[in-house]
């Protein structure tokens, strides 16, 4: 847009939802299914300063490393933009999760029911920090391999946390998962008043 424009009359607002889950579970696919832009990637450089000396010991022979995060964008209103951020693939980059979750509405934990343990870390993380989250079981090829309640039991997910089915490739399916998350976050916010 090249037209001369002064400052927007209404301060635009950004909100954020985090998409977490194990490596290769389909986080970027999910983001791409609803994003109005092709998912972009931003990189953060991790140094001793950003993680503390203890954590750096987990990165042998390196004083810095790069963490990449994919993200997408949905303009909900002219002045209200929702960003979807995928967590870095490797769970050890927890400092980046702190950054991602700061101010976020909540998180969608995408689960491959064949590899449930891959999402343990994410579930623990959001529970400990009291971040609203939903568990979305990715329906690969549209096939449900496990019942939601079996997954709830396996992951010890509290009853108030929604567990939903989701096809990360399908826009409507992903949209519904996001709606479920925001509803859940809203219920929790109202309950906390």
């Amino acid at each position: 847009m090249a037209s001369a424009r002064s400052e927007p009359p209404v301060a635009p607002k950004a909100v954020k939802i985090v998409v977490a889950g194990g490596f290769g579970v389909g986080k970027t696919t999910l983001v791409g299914a609803v994003s109005e832009i092709t998912p972009l990637s931003t990189e953060a450089v991790m140094t001793a300063a950003s993680v503390g000396i203890d954590d750096l010991s987990k990165l042998p022979n390196k004083s810095t490393t790069t963490v990449a995060m994919d993200f997408g964008r949905i303009s909900l209103e002219e002045d209200l933009i929702l960003y979807l951020f995928g967590t870095p693939g490797q769970d050890r980059f927890w400092f980046m999760w702190d950054e991602l979750i700061r101010g976020a509405i909540g998180a969608v934990v995408l689960v491959d029911s064949r590899r449930l343990k891959d999402c343990f870390g994410a579930v623990d993380y959001f529970e400990q920090r009291e971040v609203p989250f939903v568990v979305a079981i990715n329906l690969f090829d549209g096939v449900l391999r496990h019942k939601a309640e079996d997954v709830r039991e396996a992951l010890a997910i509290p009853s108030e946390v929604p567990i939903i089915m989701c096809d990360a490739r399908e826009r409507d399916s992903v949209k519904n998962a996001l709606v479920d998350l925001v509803e859940h976050a809203l219920v929790r916010t109202v309950a906390a008043l």
């Binding site: 927007p8 990637s41 990189e43 004083s63 993200f71 949905i74 991602l100 826009r171 996001l178």
Partner: protein
């Protein structure tokens, strides 16, 4: 912190990222959130032809509102560099930054309802 890079493997751009920012890694607007929105001001539009490379690119890109994360991705610079550049430009009045709404209080309910409405309408 940057002195112990005897074993550092270098990859990516040859230019050290912090060369772009003149060696500064901090700005008074540090800790800009990933989703902080950036828009070029009228001053930024006027000054654009006189700005150097990255700053000019930011001023041009942010005629449309973009987040700090998008600035980082579109310029192919790290998040830290994008933050410093945007923070400096904000201090000089070339761009305006819009920090995200804080969460977890009653005013959030109205915002969450707007988000919900917007998502359902997609």
């Amino acid at each position: 912190m940057r002195g112990e890079d005897g074993h550092q493997r270098t990859y990516g751009p040859i230019v050290r990222p912090y060369t772009i920012t003149g060696g500064r890694t901090r700005t008074t607007l540090q800790e800009l959130e990933l989703e902080t929105l950036v828009s070029t001001t009228s001053l930024g539009q006027v000054e654009l032809p006189r700005l150097n490379m990255e700053r000019r690119e930011i001023a041009a890109l942010c005629r449309d509102i973009l987040s700090v994360a998008e600035v980082s991705a579109r310029l192919s610079v790290t998040l830290g560099v994008a933050r410093v550049l945007v923070g400096d430009m904000a201090e000089e009045g070339l761009v305006q930054v819009h920090r995200p709404a804080s969460q977890n209080n009653s005013s959030d309910i109205a915002l969450l309802e707007r988000v919900l409405y917007g998502l359902r309408a997609l």
